[in-house]
Amino acid sequence: MSTSTLKKLLVHTYMTLFTLPIIAMIIWYFLAATMNFTTGQFSIDNFSFFTEPVEYAGVKLPLIWPIVLNTLVYSFLIVLIEVCISVPTAYAFSRLDFKGRVSAMKFLFLMRSFPGITLIIATFFILVQMNLVNTYTGVLLVAVTGSLPGRVYIMKGFFDEVPWDIEWAAMVDGCTRYRAFKKVLVPFVLPGIGAISVFSFLGAYGEWFLFKLLIFNDDMLTLAGYLSKLVTKEDQIMNYGLITAIGLFYTLPIILFYIFTQKIFMKVNLGGAKQV
């Protein structure tokens, strides 16, 4: 056996050993969803949530499909709002000279590193004052406020990378400042927009805390909130089969998304790094 094969063998053994627990968990996850543990037989009983509202041990939740719709609408709305606000804002921070730019940026950085959760009580009271509790507007407002500083910060980095020459060239070639932004700068920072879109989407898709706190109608929940309702009712026996089944349904789109986009994202990264 040559040293290189030995090395490979060692590496593989090492990696297998470490991934084993994770693999075991995933397998258990699938089994829990698709097996009846009392009879030890394969069953799809746990997936009856597809066709009827969930109800067990006093927990009553609406049918899942409207919740799925809520989730998609909410997530894409978040992506749209965050991209539409953070891209122009980041451009302004990166390229324009205006009064208070530096202090605004410092504030942004502070907000980005601030643990937002500590503000939640105050936020709640403000929303009550504004009559926005138990509305999507309220949730969107709080969610976007929390995540925007981070998004702007990332986007600003991307804009900082764009050489001034490119923007000047566009202006000499007949663009106004705004058109140069739209026609030349935005394509240049497209990888960045892609990146923050993904972050936004994943953030929104996984948002349960704000729903738990600010939404009282179960039929207004999104999937993450829906799941959390299942797990956190007190004094009851957990229905693990049901939870894992819904969990599986919840995770699947993300896994598929990763499988299909990871190649594209690798390419985007390479393309972004290679500047002309």
Binding site: P163, D165, W168, A169, V172, D173, G174, T176, R179, Q275
Partner: protein, 371 residues
């Protein structure tokens, strides 16, 4: 015609440390090829950016064909510009890059593409139209940038060090080509460069800048032969002009430059105003205006050869004062046939009427005007 009148540019927060451009006056005729030449930081790029409209002058006037354009947006100035980095749009193909300025003028796609193709033929890049900028070599990118600047038939072409990223050989080719295209199209062109050879070779007139001011604005040969001041004289030329510190004196009715090492009698037709006598001057003469002469020649100077460098086309000889009184080394150029070695004692003489006298009390102004 382009006119710059008393242009001043101060960058924000830079007022204290001086002006990037300080009272610049320049006239450029239609169809002329003008170079802005000067050391790093002298304000070349700043001037070009103000011509493009990307920077606004702090004060002064910019006129195109007699019309004030200070507040005209870059997009409305009908200029083409090539940036040092080329600044191609990475997400667009070469075709779309070249057609971009046309599309921004609302020219229909079909026509824009046709004109892009024509322009690309002039620059011999029509086989690259479908590529992305990242798939091109540096030289090809440079051509695409040129094509993009020219496709809209601009009235003025601005080039900011367009050749500084090319290798020496390619530089020569591209230089000739730019000159040829410029002649054919008759487009008024302003090139910024810190390569003096390039500036002198390519342009009708060269403006030498230093410290944000124009030192001299003249055709290349005039700059070279008749520098108006010490800066221009020492900036241009390779090997550089010899400069020796001296003093003007009146001796027996003759005007003489007295240096530590030699005395040089001014010829009768180069007599200066009496007021200049006693002034501290730099005596300047270019290496190819010094000859090795016989020990009997008039106005000869005895020197010792310190070093001989072979340049291929000739020899660069560095001579020093054998008595060690003159602390400046003097460079001269000879043909390859001259048999000369370091350590030799030689006599040198200055070719007639090729010398310059720079007034050290007047910012190095040249006291002699050969015209």
């Amino acid at each position: 015609m382009i006119t710059l009148r008393n242009i001043v540019k101060e960058y924000d927060g830079k007022q204290d440390s001086g002006r990037a451009v300080d009272g610049l006056n320049l006239e450029i005729n239609k169809g002329e090829f003008v170079a802005l030449l000067g050391p790093s930081g002298c304000g070349k790029t700043t001037t070009l950016m103000m011509l493009a409209g990307l920077l606004k002058p702090t004060s002064g006037e910019i006129l195109f064909n007699g019309k004030l354009v200070n507040h005209v947006e870059p997009k409305d100035r009908n200029i083409g510009m090539v940036f040092q980095s080329y600044a191609l749009y990475p997400h667009l193909s070469v075709r779309d890059n070249i057609a971009f300025p046309l599309r921004e003028r609302k020219i229909p796609k079909q026509e824009a593409y046709e004109r892009a193709k024509e322009t690309s033929k002039i620059l011999q890049i029509d086989h690259l139209l479908d590529r992305k900028p990242s798939q091109l070599s540096g030289g090809q990118q440079q051509r695409v940038a040129m094509a993009r600047a020219l496709s809209k038939n601009p009235e003025i072409l601005l080039l900011d060090e367009p050749m500084s990223n090319l290798d020496a050989r390619l530089k020569l080719d591209v230089r000739d080509e730019i000159r040829k295209i410029q002649r054919n199209l008759g487009v008024t062109t302003i090139i910024v460069t810190h390569d003096q050879e390039e500036a002198l070779a390519i342009s009708d007139r060269v403006a030498i800048l230093n410290g944000g001011q124009i030192q001299q604005y003249a055709p290349p040969h005039e700059l070279f032969n008749h520098p108006v001041n010490l800066f221009v004289a020492s900036f241009l030329g390779n090997p550089p002009m010899n400069l020796v510190q001296g003093e003007l004196r009146e001796m027996n009715g003759n005007q003489v430059v007295v240096t530590e090492g030699f005395e040089y009698l001014l010829p009768a037709d180069r007599r200066l105003d009496k007021a200049h006598m006693g002034k501290s001057v730099k005596f300047g003469i270019r290496p190819h205006d010094i000859a090795i002469c016989s020990p009997t020649d008039h106005q000869r100077i005895k020197m010792k050869v310190d070093l001989v460098e072979h340049l291929g086309s000739g020899k660069l000889v560095k001579v020093i004062d054998p008595l060690g009184k003159l602390d400046t080394m003097i460079r001269l150029l000879t043909g390859n046939e001259a048999e000369i070695e370091s350590g030799d004692e030689v006599y040198i003489k200055f070719k007639e009427n090729k010398f310059h006298l720079f007034d050290m009390n007047d910012n190095g102004r040249n006291l002699l005007q050969y015209k």
